[in-house]
């Protein structure tokens, strides 16, 4: 940790450290925005990981790049570009995802083609714009420390809408995700559900990537949900763990970056990966122990705390 005479210094007094971080308005906004993003991305990402649509989520995250550069080229607000491209991308991927029984490799190939097309368009827009490539970096990696009050308000609104929509879709979507054949036989519109979930995913990604950047949305979308699902198979506890881990990752990453010269995105990705690894290791250890105990007694072993 580099300590400079003028800059903030970290010590053992946690209360002093935290109050130091909260001294600045931009830092409070960053923590709030990060918290909102962590909750929304965690909940939507949980469903995404369950549905094995990680690749689609990554592709939708990439849509923000042509979205931002296209909006810059046309001179319209960047948010329009984000939402337009994420919506179009969700439709292009979803057209392939649902009722038509396609093989896994065919679907992923289609997703890959959509992503390649979007990125090629994004690059075209950037070079047509002739813009500064410094902007590109902020499109790709975001600027969590420059969140304005209006942005925070807009983000909270979108997040609330996304969470409400997800809650409304949750039960049929869960059914269709776990057993799509049975759901279709029971008369659920599997294809429509699939497309609406992708649209919801696109909405969440578009709102998030304006704050965290295209590349790092993914860290919050996948890692907390994947960790939680490695730990427990029950939906509600797993959702709770997802949100808690997401908040932990974002706030810890922001806090560390405040005392460091390196960007928050780096710490957020590294911490979320560490959390995922710990969760996988813990799940393996748990499975091994229950396998060892099973012949002796059927009662489950004492559970230690999840992740400190």
């Amino acid at each position: 940790m580099r300590t400079e005479p003028t800059g903030p210094t970290i010590g053992w007094d946690v209360v002093r450290d935290v109050s130091q971080v909260l001294e600045y308005h931009f830092m409070v906004n960053a923590l709030l925005a990060g918290g909102v993003v962590a909750v929304m991305a965690g909940l939507v990402g949980w469903m995404m990981v369950l549905r094995r649509e990680t690749f689609a989520g990554h592709t939708l995250a990439m849509m923000a790049f042509p979205g931002a550069s296209g909006a810059a080229l046309l001179g319209v607000p960047a948010a329009w570009g984000y939402f337009a491209f994420c919506g179009a991308g969700a439709l292009a991927i979803g057209r392939f995802a649902g009722a038509e029984r396609r093989s896994w490799s065919e679907r992923s190939a289609n997703t890959g083609a959509v992503q390649a097309l979007a990125l090629a368009m994004g690059f075209l827009f950037v070079s047509l714009y002739g813009g500064v490539l410094g902007d590109l970096e902020s499109v790709l990696f975001g600027n969590l420390l420059g969140v304005s009050d209006t942005q925070l308000l807009g983000l909270t609104g979108v997040a609330a809408a996304a969470v409400v929509a997800l809650a409304a879709l949750a039960r049929p979507l869960l059914f269709a995700s776990v057993d799509s054949d049975a759901a279709a036989a029971r008369g659920l519109p599997v294809q429509a559900l699939s497309i609406s979930f992708l649209a919801l995913l696109g909405l969440a990604v578009a709102a998030t990537s304006q704050i965290t950047g295209v590349m790092l949305v993914f860290a919050l979308l996948v890692a907390p949900a994947a960790s939680a699902q490695a730990l427990t198979a029950r939906p509600l506890p797993s959702l709770g763990i997802t949100v808690a881990l997401g908040l932990l990752v974002v706030w810890l990453g922001l806090g560390i970056s405040y005392y460091s010269v390196y960007p928050a995105g780096f710490f957020i990705t590294v911490i979320s990966f560490a959390v995922y690894l710990l969760a996988r290791l813990f799940a393996v250890a748990l499975a091994r122990r229950s396998r060892e105990r099973a012949p002796a007694a059927s009662r489950p072993g004492p559970r230690r705390g999840v992740i400190s």
Partner: protein, 277 residues
């Protein structure tokens, strides 16, 4: 068009890179590993940036990162990669979460090196980053182009050498394992080979657009024919067509970046194949 030296270099390197991408891409689509290919293409970015930050030739970082990541994916992966549980959709799907998490951290490292680069060697970081992300096929020197072509030919020969057992192991993993084919070793070898191809193609179309050249022509070929030899030939031919067409188009239209042109043609070929069948 052929009188300009940069164009000759681009065509030389592009031709063999496209062939290597098309042929190995056919196996990638067959094995349902498009996401793995995508992850490898993103690994190229921090690899090149790390090399630039350390002050060594960025191609060393590029190849080291993609080959290591390819081998790691091959070694860690179960399901489709190792052929243990057969190629069921759930096995490949479970792996995709792991791939997604792994390459998130790799992108984070990319941010780290980008910051390191911009704080240590004032300037050049943005250009370096853009070169790696989007490629610069028109910027290749004669020596670089010859080296790129040579490596691509080597990758093609390696693919041809393992093609028969790889095809067997990809289509019938259990039967292949029972007949004594070393499926796990094969999937590691193929993933490492894919790493070489990814590093190669990064120089031509860039880390972000690589997927277009790897997945789109191959997916189009899979739509058109299920026969392995015809499919492989068609994938190579389509990738080659996209590369040549893209380079020509970019030469004719100065506002069009070459990597965009190549990927746009490749993806249009894929959608044409979707419509045709």
């Amino acid at each position: 068009m052929f009188s300009a030296e940069f164009m000759r270099n681009a065509l030389l390197a592009g031709t063999f890179i496209a062939l290597a991408c098309g042929v190995s891409g056919w196996f990638v689509v067959l094995r349902g590993q498009v996401f793995a290919g995508d992850a490898l293409s993103h690994v190229a970015f921090p690899g090149a940036l790390a090399a630039a930050a350390a002050g060594i030739d960025q191609r060393i970082g590029l190849f080291a990162a993609t080959i290591a990541a390819g081998a790691a994916i091959g070694a860690l992966g179960r399901g489709a990669l190792a052929g243990r549980d057969g190629r069921s959709a759930s096995a490949s799907a479970a792996e995709d979460t792991a791939i997604g998490t792994v390459f998130t951290v790799i992108l984070g490292l990319g941010v780290f090196f980008l910051t390191l680069l911009s704080t240590s060697s004032a300037g050049g970081a943005g250009i370096q980053g853009a070169r790696t992300l989007f490629g610069s096929v028109f910027g290749l020197g004669a020596g670089e182009a010859r080296l790129a072509a040579g490596v691509a030919i080597a990758a093609l020969l390696l693919t041809a050498a393992i093609a028969r057992p790889l095809l067997f192991a990809s289509v019938f993993p259990d039967v292949a394992a029972a007949r004594g084919v070393r499926t796990r070793l094969l999937s590691i070898a193929f993933a490492a080979l894919l790493g070489v191809v990814a590093a190669e193609a990064t120089q031509a179309v860039g880390a972000l657009l690589l997927l277009g050249l790897l997945a789109a022509p191959a997916a189009a070929a899979h739509r058109v024919t299920a026969a392995p030899l015809a499919g492989l030939a068609l994938a190579g031919a389509l990738a080659l067509g996209a590369m040549w067409g893209g380079l020509t188009l970019a030469y004719a239209l100065p506002w069009l970046p070459p990597s965009t042109a190549v990927v746009l043609i490749a993806v249009s070929l894929y959608y044409a194949a979707l419509g045709w069948r």
